[in-house]
Amino acid sequence: MTALRLHQLGVRIGTVEVCRDLNVELEPGQCWAILGRNGTGKTTLLHTLAGLRAAQTGTVHLDDTSLTRLSRRTIAQRLGVLPQDSVDPFPATVLETALLGRHPHISPWGWESADDHARARAALAQVGLAGWDQRDVATLSGGERRRVALATLLTQDPDILLLDEPTNHLDLHHQVALLTRLAQQARERNKLVVMVLHDLNLAARFADHCLLLFGEGKTCAGPRAVVLETPLLEQLYNQPLRQVDDIPPAWLPR
């Protein structure tokens, strides 16, 4: 199992400073939520963690190796990303799309084996799309496509799952089902899950660690119970909040 270690990380995009001197160790078995207002650079940070863009200062290590020293293929064997949107300009079936996740694990000139097909089918069953193999993805609704994209990530089966707004396009039931599944991946299979979320209360319920982006490089990271405090959250969202006492607690806008 693999940990993600951020050392003195500084990330900037245009004039926005996303984080400054950020030191965090994201360990296997943890489920992290990245929270922040629009435009504070949540996606940018997630892409930096995936090695998709270079950090301005500091490093991101996959265990003990800097991401910049690893090939994309090696990274993809251990770290997977659910992008914010998926594009399908060409026709493709649901099964073909899920099977893409096996790419980093198959030898360069190899073909997908029966085992790879079985993994893709199992992943589709996990997101409630069993038997949809031959459907064209272009005929699916936004939420169904999102679940296919998640099935691709589950087929890839990396140690580290980075998800950009995984609940986008999903109805309430599927939001809860998906986050339950991701939390399970962390708890039962010792995966590291890091997701950008917009819904504070879903984050409070499913993530055990949170990383808050306040903008202007200010950040706050730690276990849920420590970080999710009403004054801090009011500052985070620039919105007065009322805490509802439940387990875990929830927050309503005031």
Binding site: L52, R73, V87, H103, W109, T139
Partner: protein, 327 residues
């Protein structure tokens, strides 16, 4: 897995039949025995020269041109992530046309215009590559825009050459622009180029499946996107340059053949690329036979025939697809 293999088998049979048909059909009717004898090296004149020096090189040239254009189209559609891309969007055919027409204007013919066309195609390729990369960023949109602008520039240049060209050159130039298989000694090198490019592109076929889903998705699934895109660009440019050198700007094959194959179920690029090669070759071989026989002894530009065959075929598959699963 069974269905795509089936598709390749059918296309292989079609390709062989098309080339065989091209050997049989012509202004002189030859018995099958004479054709076989000529192919096995025991033939007698004049059927030997008709088969080996006229019909076979022409059939091979037609097959190669169709195959190269279809391959280039399939590659560029992924590179630009645009289903409407064809081998000419990057201005390659425009550059080739200017080179060939300039050679004709200078009174060079045959090999001269071929050299001109190949040089023009490569020049255009390098120009578009350099201009699109200018700022270091190399997005599909930027590449597409640069290619389209370059194509318009070549278009204006072509119009200028046609305006100043003397009357006796015009017909040859127009045929070149409409796409026409030129007799010559080039089909065998072209066949080598085709085989080489097909093998090279087949080696990168699986990553292409990922790149078709966007750069981000491909990168996160372990594809080194930048070298892959350079390779794609180079392979497609070389295929297009070879095809236009052989036959001028034959339209339509490069755009439509990859879509035909996708509609027939060949969506995986490991199937799509060889299937496009076979289907593109077949389409152009058949079109060329029709071009030289339909209105004999006159010859029609083959580009007209590729459209006449390909468009109904494409519409048929598109409509059938809609009934099964609406796109």
């Amino acid at each position: 897995m069974r269905k795509p293999a089936h598709l390749l088998g059918v296309l292989l049979v079609l390709s062989i039949s098309a080339v065989a048909g091209a050997l049989f059909i012509g202004s002189v009717t030859l018995p099958a025995g004479d054709i076989l004898a000529a192919l096995t090296g025991t033939g007698q004149e004049p059927s030997r020269s008709i088969v080996l020096e006229l019909r076979l090189p022409r059939a091979v040239a037609a097959f190669c041109v169709g195959a190269l254009l279809a391959l280039a189209g399939a590659l560029l559609q992924v590179l630009l992530r645009n289903p409407l891309a064809d081998p000419y969007v990057l201005g390659t055919s425009g550059g080739a046309a200017v080179g060939a027409l300039l050679a004709m204007l200078l009174g060079l013919s045959g090999l001269g215009s071929s050299v001109g066309a190949f040089g023009g195609a490569l020049l255009s390729t390098v120009l578009v590559f350099g201009l699109a990369r200018g700022g270091g960023d190399w997005s599909p949109t930027r590449l597409l825009l640069t290619g389209i602008i370059m194509a318009s520039a070549w278009g204006a240049f072509i119009a200028f050459i046609l305006t100043i060209a003397p009357e006796h050159n015009l017909r040859g130039m127009l045929f070149w622009l409409m796409g026409d298989i030129l007799p010559g000694d080039l089909p065998w090198p072209a066949l080598m180029v085709l085989l080489g490019l097909l093998i090279l592109s087949w080696l990168i076929a699986r990553p292409l499946n990922l790149l078709a889903r966007g750069e981000l998705q491909a990168t996160t699934l372990g594809v080194a996107v930048t070298p892959l895109r350079y390779a794609l660009y180079g392979l497609a440019a070389l295929a297009t340059a070879t095809a236009v050198t052989l036959a001028g700007a034959v339209g339509f094959v490069g755009l439509v053949v990859p879509h035909l194959i996708r509609l027939a179920g060949g969506r995986d690029h490991r199937i799509l690329l060889p299937a496009s090669v076979l289907a593109g070759g077949t389409l152009l071989t058949v079109a060329d036979v029709l071009a030289r026989t339909l209105w004999a002894p006159h010859r029609l530009p083959v580009g007209i025939l590729t459209a006449a065959i390909g468009i109904p075929l494409f519409l048929f598959l598109l409509l059938r697809q809609r009934r099964i699963a609406p796109i």
